[in-house]
Assembly symmetry: C2
Homo-oligomer: 361 residues x 2
C-alpha cells in the first residue's frame, strides 16, 4: 500500500504523564520514554506507525523545552517539521498551528492528529481506519476515530454515533461528544452500543479545521494562520492565543452543527495513563505469568509476587509476597503501589511539588 496522497500527520507531543512518576518527569515526559520495552520511545513508535500513511509528511508540535529531545529522537524530520510552542496553550493552538503551517504548503491537505504517547499495537487495522477517515475528511467532514470500548472507563470522553454515512464502509454520523462520565453512565454508554471512546484522534482537511475554528474562535484561527504566514512572529503572537482544547473549541460545536463523522476503530488503543495500563502492554515473564517487567528481567527477583516492576535504576529489585504490586525503580526515586491505586500516583507528585522538590518531579 502506498501513502495517502496529501495526507499529513500532526503529532502533539505534550503532557507530563504524572501518573507514570517516577519514570515520567516534567523534564523527560512519557512520550520521550520507551515504556513498552520495544526499543523505541512512544513518540518514535507513533511516527513509525504513521509512516506507511504519511511518508515524511509529519509535523510534531511540542513544548520548547522538549524540542531538542524530539529532534534527537526523530533525526529524519526537517527543522520545520518540529514546531516548538513557546508556552503551553492547550491542544487547539498546537494542532491549529500545525494545520495552518501545512495549509500553506498544501491548501487541500488532509491532516490527522495523533498524540505522541498512545499505543496501538494493530497497525494494519489502524491504517485501514485512517485511510477511510482520510477519504471522509476529503469530503469536508471533521472525522473522529471512535474506539470500541473494552470497559466502562470513566477516564475518557465518549462519542455517540448515529446513522451510517452514505458511500463509506464503516463511517457513522456523530451525534454528540460527551464528557468523562460517572461509572453508572459509562456502563449505560457501553451497554447501549452507541458510544465509543474519544481517543482525541481527528482527521480533517487543514482548511476545514481552521474554517470551523474561525466560526467559533475567529481570533485563534487568525492567530495560528498569521504565525504560519510569518514564522518569525511566533514569540510575539503565541502568548495571546486562547487556551482551549480542540474538543471544546471545534469538535463539540461541529458535532452539534452536524459536521462530525465517526469512523469506528476495531483496534485496541491505550493512552498508557497509569501503571495499571502499562502492565497490560508489557509481555509476560517466562515462568511468572502474573509478572510484567519493564527493563531487564535479570534485575528482578520475585518470590510469590505478581504485578509490574520497572527496573530502571540499575539496581536489584526484589519483591516477596505481594499481589498486583507496582514497583518502579529509578536512579533518584522508587515508587511502590498497587495496580488498583495506580491513579493515585499523581498525589505523590503533588506532594513533592508542595515540598518544592521539583528536582524530583
Amino acid at each position: 500500500m502506498s501513502t495517502i496522497p496529501g495526507f499529513w500527520a500532526v503529532v502533539p507531543a505534550g503532557g507530563a504523564g504524572t501518573r507514570l512518576w517516577p519514570l515520567s518527569r516534567a523534564a523527560h515526559p512519557k512520550f520521550l520514554l520507551d515504556l513498552t520495552g520495544s526499543g523505541r520511545t512512544l513518540l518514535q513508535a507513533t511516527v513509525e506507525r504513521l509512516e506507511p500513511l504519511t511518508g515524511d509528511r509529519v509535523v510534531v508540535v511540542t513544548g520548547a523545552p522538549h524540542a531538542d529531545a524530539v529532534r534527537a529522537q526523530l533525526p529524519a524530520l526537517a527543522g520545520d517539521q518540529v514546531l516548538a510552542e513557546p508556552s503551553p496553550r492547550d491542544s487547539m493552538a498546537a494542532i491549529g498551528l500545525a494545520a495552518a503551517v501545512i495549509e500553506r504548503q498544501d491548501p487541500q491537505a488532509v491532516i490527522g492528529s495523533f498524540a505522541a504517547d498512545h499505543v496501538i499495537p494493530d497497525t494494519t487495522a489502524f491504517e485501514s481506519v485512517i485511510r477511510e477517515a482520510a477519504e471522509v475528511a476529503r469530503e469536508g467532514h471533521l472525522v473522529t476515530i471512535g474506539i470500541e470500548p473494552t470497559s466502562p472507563a470513566t477516564g475518557f470522553g465518549y462519542i455517540r454515533a448515529g446513522e451510517a454515512l452514505a458511500g463509506f464502509a464503516t463511517a457513522l454520523r456523530a451525534v454528540e461528544f460527551v464528557e468523562k462520565p460517572d461509572a453508572v453512565r459509562a456502563a449505560q454508554y457501553v451497554a447501549s452500543g452507541e458510544f465509543r471512546w474519544n481517543a482525541g484522534m481527528f482527521v480533517v482537511k487543514a482548511a476545514t479545521l481552521l474554517d470551523l475554528l474561525a466560526q467559533w474562535h475567529p481570533e485563534l484561527a487568525a492567530g495560528v494562520r498569521a504565525i504560519a504566514a510569518s514564522p518569525e512572529r511566533l514569540d510575539e503572537l503565541w502568548p495571546a492565543l486562547t487556551r482551549i482544547a480542540i474538543d471544546h473549541a471545534v469538535a463539540e460545536p461541529a458535532a452539534d452543527a452536524g459536521h462530525v463523522v465517526v469512523v469506528p476503530a476495531p483496534f485496541s488503543w491505550d493512552d498508557v495513563g497509569d501503571f495499571a495500563s502499562l502492565a497490560e502492554l508489557l509481555p509476560p515473564v517466562e515462568g511468572e505469568p502474573g509478572l510484567r517487567v519493564l527493563g531487564s528481567v535479570d534485575d528482578v527477583t520475585t518470590i510469590e509476587a505478581s504485578g509490574v516492576v520497572a527496573a530502571a535504576g540499575g539496581r536489584r529489585v526484589a519483591v516477596v509476597g505481594l499481589e498486583d504490586v507496582v514497583v518502579i525503580d529509578t536512579p533518584d526515586a522508587v515508587l511502590v503501589t498497587t495496580r488498583s491505586r495506580a491513579q493515585d500516583v499523581k498525589a505523590v507528585v503533588d506532594a513533592l511539588k508542595a515540598q518544592g522538590r521539583t528536582d524530583l518531579t
Copy 2:
C-alpha cells in the same frame, strides 16, 4: 552503681542477618548496622549497655573479615579484646575461646555472653537481672537469662524453669531447654507460665564453663585453653575445633545434670530477626501512626500507606495505598514485601546466591 567485680562481657559478633537483606549483607552484617536509628550500631549499643556492669572488661569475638570493622566501631577496646575467628566454628568455640582467654587473666572471672545484635531498651532492668545472675554464677551455676514470652513465638528455643533457688531474689532452677516448638506447643508453653524464651544469654564463671565443656567435649575445652595459652597457635589449632552451638555443647547437658539456673528477665528483648521485628523498634512518624521509618523521614512520601520504610539509598521512596508494607531501599538493591512475609526475605538471598550474585548478598 559500680561495675560487678570480676565480671567480663563476652560479645559474639556473628550472623549474617539474612532476613534483613538488603540492609544486612555478608560484608556488613546486622551487628555493624544502626538499625534502630539510635546513632549507634547494634554492636556499639550492646557494649554500651554492658559498660555499667563490666567497665572495660569486654571481649568481642568475631569473624576475621569483620575484625577491622569491629575495632573501628569500638576504638576504646585494646587489640586483645577483639578475637578474630579464622573461620566459622559456631558459638561454643567462639565463647569458649573468650572464656579461656579471660580465665588466664582472672581464674575467678564470671563471664556473661551477650550477642552483638540484640536490642534491650530497658537497661535498668537488664542491669538488675545480670547483677543477680553474676551472683548466682559465682556459686558455680551456669545461669541463663529467661525472657518472659510476649507471644507464642516459634522462632526461639524455650527454657522450662522449676523451683526457686534458695538465697536469691528471682533465680529458678532450670528443668530443661527445649528446641524451637511448633505453634501448638509454643502456645502451650506460654500458657503454662513455666517456659521462657532462651535468648542465648549465659552468665557463668569462665572456669565453670570450660570445666563443664571438658565433661562433654574435652577436645574442644582443651583446644580453646591451648589457644588462650599460646595465641600464636590460633591459626594452627582453630580449624580442628568442633563446630557446635553452646546450647547443645553445654547448656542442654548441664541442665539435664541439674547445673543450670534461670534468672527470669522482665525486660523486653528483641533479636531484630526480620523487618517485622525491626518495625517494632522504630519510633512512629508524627502524623503517620502506622508508619515506621529507618533513615530520614524527609526522604519518604506516603499516601495512605503503613508499614516500615528504610530510606538508605539516598533516594526518594514513595508508597501509595499499601498496608503493612516493607520497603527497604539501598544503593544497589530495593526490597518490597509485607510485615507478614518478613521471614521469607531469606528466599531472596538464597535466589541471589543461586545466581552467583554474591556481590548483592
